[in-house]
């Protein structure tokens, strides 16, 4: 295994750990927005798709990359909009009680 490979593995494991710690504290109340949010963030595949669609990786990789850009961008745009829309609906009671978390 190369040095880069080992660093990548570190990044993966630490990020997974951070993710687990952060997400354990998300209340069940917001589990659906959480799924929508991770969906939007997973649109980061866009980064790989863009390089495939525009790089010198041959014709097939370019076309597959092109379709991948569409798919990933759909998730990015749709995902962030719907997360925002959902979170906008979660409101306090009109008279907010003090001490509420």
């Amino acid at each position: 295994m190369t040095d880069t490979g080992i660093i990548q593995l570190y990044v993966f494991i630490l990020a997974g750990f951070v993710g687990y710690q952060v997400i354990t504290r998300v209340p069940p109340l917001l589990h659906t927005p959480l799924m929508a949010a991770t969906n939007a963030i997973s649109g980061i595949s866009l980064v790989g798709s863009i390089v495939a669609a525009g790089g010198e990786h041959g014709r097939v990789a370019m076309w597959l990359g092109f379709v991948a850009v569409i798919c990933a961008m759909t998730n990015v745009v749709g995902g962030f909009i719907i997360t925002d829309r959902m979170l906008g609906m979660f409101k306090h009671a009109e008279k907010p009680k003090e001490g509420s978390k």
């Binding site: 040095d3 990548q8 570190y10 990044v11 993966f12 630490l14 990020a15 750990f17 997400i23 354990t24 209340p27 069940p28 109340l29 917001l30 589990h31 659906t32 927005p33 799924m35 949010a37 991770t38 939007a40 963030i41 997973s42 649109g43 980061i44 595949s45 790989g48 798709s49 863009i50 669609a53 790089g55 010198e56 041959g58 097939v60 076309w63 597959l64 990359g65 092109f66 379709v67 991948a68 850009v69 569409i70 798919c71 990933a72 961008m73 990015v76 745009v77 749709g78 995902g79 962030f80 909009i81 925002d84 959902m86 979170l87 979660f90 409101k91 306090h92 009671a93 009109e94 509420s100």
Partner: protein
């Protein structure tokens, strides 16, 4: 804590050595994006800050995209730009106009898109390596093959699996489990075949046939894996597919050497995994049981207690309205039936009337009520129910004995006392809402058909329980107008 990945990223940049200003800029954009994503997810721990946090995450995504567009390997922008425009054009209506009731299938659908993007990039990369003949020494790319293999395996099975989940949730195909003899054997054989192909590819990455056989097997596994899973098990499956889509993205990051992909994929994977564990726990079942159990297929022999000789008490809307109007503590228990008849607005209206008459209304939400994690919360929030009235199972279970009336709307298995009292019941051990401890119970239900698990619910035969039959939305409408006249 949330920035743990950053020093590593910096180390990576430094290790690049020759990296110019452009590369530094790109990596900075990626680091900023990663931080904003993690902070965005962390903001979801507090409903009041969540919206702002996620907007910051969206900004992070913008940075990541701009950074990538500056990548020196990019020679032509035409298709990138067309792709970005088309994607935005599809994504905008999917985000803006899809109703909250369609959220489970909407989420499943976007898992499919995410996984498809990863799979296509993986296949393209493989094609470029071996069919365009850019790799001369296949044994030198074994490490990359491991990443590509994971990417395509997870990606492909998530694509078809999510599509099946979407089909079931949208009711394009039956929500009932589809089973046949030897199903588990077939699935296991396919799975073993795919793993075998993967291992062979690590040994001989240049074998194109094996690569495509593996891809085809992964697509087939996705379909067959979701076939035997019934509607009520969907929360687990959707979460699991969320996790797989993340892992596929992470594998892409390994394959093309991109840390921001690895980080986001890992976050996504962790989130999906955690949610599936929570959902499985809430159903008192193991992963394996959900995936291979086909729960609702056949009633387990000699389990459910006979309810013969017991009778249910039916109640009229007028009487139920009187009970509710003069109750001081009401707990509403919503279930999938509320989502189906889209009764959440009537629920809120009824609650407001009860509150006007001096009563207090709380909502008790079981973790697996509905078809995805948090499904009921989103529906109620859409109907303007303040989120501080919604309570998780643990928070509210002690409060049922003080409740004058518990109103069960289209929920069944999650309130079935058999989960506590009947060791022979298939749902024995599953945590439930203690509705049977309330002073009185009104159950809104379409008919006396058994719930998803196909088992009788003793709660309905309890002497404190009254049944209000009919469509939930219509029944609630009647209750609302009756309470108004009181």
């Amino acid at each position: 804590m949330s920035a743990l990945g950053v020093p590593l990223l910096l180390a990576d940049v430094a290790a690049g050595g020759t990296a110019g200003v452009r590369e530094l800029f790109i990596q900075t954009a990626y680091i900023v994006a990663s931080i904003l994503f993690i902070l965005g997810l962390r903001s979801l721990t507090k409903p009041d800050e969540a919206r702002r946090g996620m907007q910051m995450a969206a900004l992070g995504m913008l940075f990541a995209i701009i950074g990538t567009l500056l990548h020196e390997g990019i020679v032509t922008y035409t298709w990138i730009i067309i792709g970005l425009v088309v994607g935005s054009a599809i994504g905008y209506p999917l985000g803006k106009f899809v109703p909250m009731t369609a959220m489970p299938q909407r989420i499943a659908f976007s898992h499919m898109f995410g996984a498809l993007a990863a799979t296509l990039v993986g296949v393209g990369e493989y094609w470029h390596m071996f069919l365009d003949g850019t790799v001369t020494d296949p044994s030198a790319v074994r490490g990359k093959m491991v990443a590509l293999g994971f990417e395509v395996l997870f990606g492909a099975l998530t694509v078809t699996g999510s599509f099946m989940a979407f089909g079931k949730l949208q009711e394009l195909i039956t929500g009932r489990p589809i089973t046949y003899k030897g199903q588990n054997a077939v699935n296991m054989a396919l799975f073993a075949g795919a793993i075998g192909c993967f291992l062979y590819l690590i040994y001989d990455p240049a074998n194109v046939t094996v690569f495509f056989v593996m891809t085809a097997l992964a697509f087939a596994i996705g379909i067959l894996m979701v076939l035997p899973i019934g509607g009520a098990d969907m929360p687990v499956v959707v979460s699991l597919l969320n996790s797989y889509a993340g892992l596929a993205a992470s594998a892409t990051g390994f394959a093309i050497g991109n840390n921001v992909l690895i980080i986001c994929g890992a976050l996504d994977g962790a989130s999906g995994f955690l949610l599936s564990v929570l959902m499985s726990k809430a159903m008192n079942r193991s992963f394996g049981n959900v995936l291979f159990g086909a729960f609702g297929a056949a009633p387990t022999g000699g389990s459910a207690k006979s309810v013969e000789g017991l009778t249910v008490k039916s109640i009229s809307a007028e009487d139920a309205a009187v009970q509710l109007a003069y109750a001081s503590k009401v707990i509403v228990v919503p279930g999938y039936g509320m989502a189906v008849s889209q009764a959440q607005h009537q629920v809120r209206e009824l609650a407001e009337l009860i509150e006007k008459k001096g009563g207090e209304v709380k909502y008790a939400i079981h973790p697996v009520a509905g078809r995805m994690p948090g499904h009921m919360n989103v529906l109620l929030a859409e109907a303007n129910v303040p989120y501080d009235r919604m309570y998780d199972m643990e928070e509210i279970n002690d409060q049922f004995p003080e409740a004058d009336v518990a109103v069960v709307i289209g929920a069944n298995d999650v309130v079935n006392p058999a989960a506590k009292t009947d060791p022979g019941s298939p749902i024995y051990g599953m945590p439930i809402l203690n509705v049977n401890q309330a002073k009185s119970v009104i159950v809104l239900k379409r008919s006396m058909n058994a719930g998803f698990a196909g088992i009788e619910n003793e709660l309905f035969y309890d002497e404190r329980t009254n049944m209000l039959f009919g469509d939930a939305k219509a029944s609630l409408g009647k209750l609302v107008s009756e309470v108004k006249t009181l």
